[in-house]
Structure formats: structure tokens, C-alpha cells
């Protein structure tokens, strides 16, 4: 699965984009976050305050309980400040 990071989430993880192979027990966005936090210290730091992080699956905003089945791309980022 393709994972993308933006703004300070990207800076903390240290990369813009990565491909992650999902373990079987990862079914939802929340499961994915739990898994990513185990990868290394940077991921753990980026998701330390996970309540504030927003998620998009295939370029649409979703909530943490959204299933990942069929998803091609998941993106993590802080609350938006455009406009």
C-alpha cells in the first residue's frame, strides 16, 4: 500500500512517500496507524499525537474506523490551513 505524508507529519516521518506491506491484522485506518508507529522512532514521533492527524484514503477524507480494503493510497497530514 502506498503511504503519503504532508506538512509536519512528513517532516517528522522524514519521507514523503513509502510503500508498506500490511500485516493481516491491519483492517482499518486506526490499525494502520498502530502498525506505522512500530516501524521506527520517526514514525512513532509523527503519530505520537494521533488524535490531531487527518487521513485521506484514495484522496478522500476519512475517519479512523474506515476499512482499508481495496485502498491504493493512504495519506496522513495535519489539519488543513489553505485558503
Amino acid at each position: 500500500m502506498n503511504i503519503r505524508y504532508f506538512a509536519w507529519v512528513r517532516e517528522k516521518v522524514g519521507i514523503e512517500e513509502e510503500t508498506v506491506t500490511l500485516p493481516d491484522h491491519v483492517a482499518t485506518v486506526a490499525d494502520l496507524i498502530t502498525h506505522l508507529k512500530t516501524l521506527d522512532d520517526n514514525h512513532a514521533a509523527a503519530f505520537a499525537d494521533e488524535e490531531v492527524i487527518r487521513v485521506a484514503v484514495d484522496q478522500e477524507h476519512v475517519e479512523a474506523d474506515t476499512p482499508l480494503q481495496g485502498a491504493r493510497e493512504v495519506a496522513f497530514f495535519p489539519p488543513m490551513t489553505g485558503g
Partner: protein
């Protein structure tokens, strides 16, 4: 039948007059055009630039979803949204919304709605570059912007 909005995400500047004429030129059914232009402020002389990061693809898709919502909610004759990304100096244009309608309140409301949801839903993030040469970090989202967006619920 609702109109199809024009949505662009670009590094280049935009021109309000050109975008307005696209919505009014050669037609006689437009009675009202409301345009909103958002510009980069220097925050009391503190800022050298704002850097706008965006999520390519999703930025266009999300703005289009908001713009299509607006076209369903109000009887518009045209709607254009342009959002810039990249490093922008104080005084530079950031975002443009132009809403055209037969009647004024539809044009006002649609442009206002677009801006409220662009602020809270379009995947853009602003980083401040200070005149001191430092980066002061990422602009934080404001609770007032979330509140502005929720006022349209059920309206």
C-alpha cells in the same frame, strides 16, 4: 441542471478580471458576480514568505467536491476556484473564488461557502518563513475556521 465549476491548482498567479470575464463574457443572464481573493499578509512585518504545500490530485478533487456542492445548493451561472501553491511573498495572491448568478445573494453565499470549506477541507498547509531568515513552522488550523464551516449545516 447545475453548472460545472472550473477548478485549478497552480504555482502561477491568477487574474481576477480574466476569470470574471470567463463567467460573464457574451452572456446576458448574469446579474451578480462575487469574487473573493485571499492574499499573503506579512503579519505585521514578521513574514518574508508563506510556503504552501499541497496534496496534488486530492487538492483538485477536494476543491471540485466543495465547488460541486455549492453549485447544487445555489442557482449559479458559473463558479471558478483557483488555488496557488509554492512560496509566496507578502502581497501575493493565494486563492480566488468567483461565483456568478442571476441574483446577488446566491453569488455571495456560494463564494462565502467555498472559502469556509476550502479553509477546513482542501489539502493545503502553510509554513511561515520569517524575515529573520528562520522558519517559524507550520501555521496552525484555527477553531474559528471549523466553526465557520459548521454554520452551513442545515442552512
Amino acid at each position: 441542471m447545475t453548472v460545472t465549476p472550473t477548478v485549478r491548482v497552480q504555482a502561477d498567479d491568477f487574474d481576477v478580471d480574466t476569470e470574471t470575464k470567463h463567467l460573464t463574457g457574451g452572456r446576458h443572464d448574469v446579474g451578480a458576480v462575487v469574487s473573493f481573493t485571499g492574499l499573503c499578509r506579512d503579519e505585521g512585518g514578521r513574514l518574508a514568505a508563506l510556503e504552501l504545500e499541497h496534496y496534488p490530485g486530492m487538492a483538485e478533487a477536494e476543491i471540485s467536491r466543495i465547488a460541486e456542492d455549492a453549485c447544487r445548493r445555489w442557482p449559479l451561472t458559473g463558479l471558478t476556484v483557483v488555488h496557488r501553491h509554492g512560496k509566496l511573498a507578502p502581497g501575493a495572491n493565494i486563492v480566488l473564488v468567483v461565483a456568478a448568478s442571476a441574483h446577488r445573494q446566491a453569488a455571495f453565499d456560494a463564494a462565502n461557502y467555498l472559502m469556509d470549506f476550502l479553509k477546513t477541507r482542501a489539502p493545503f498547509w502553510k509554513k511561515e518563513h520569517l524575515k529573520t531568515g528562520e522558519t517559524s513552522g507550520w501555521v496552525e488550523a484555527k477553531a474559528i475556521d471549523d466553526a465557520a464551516a459548521t454554520r452551513w449545516n442545515g442552512a
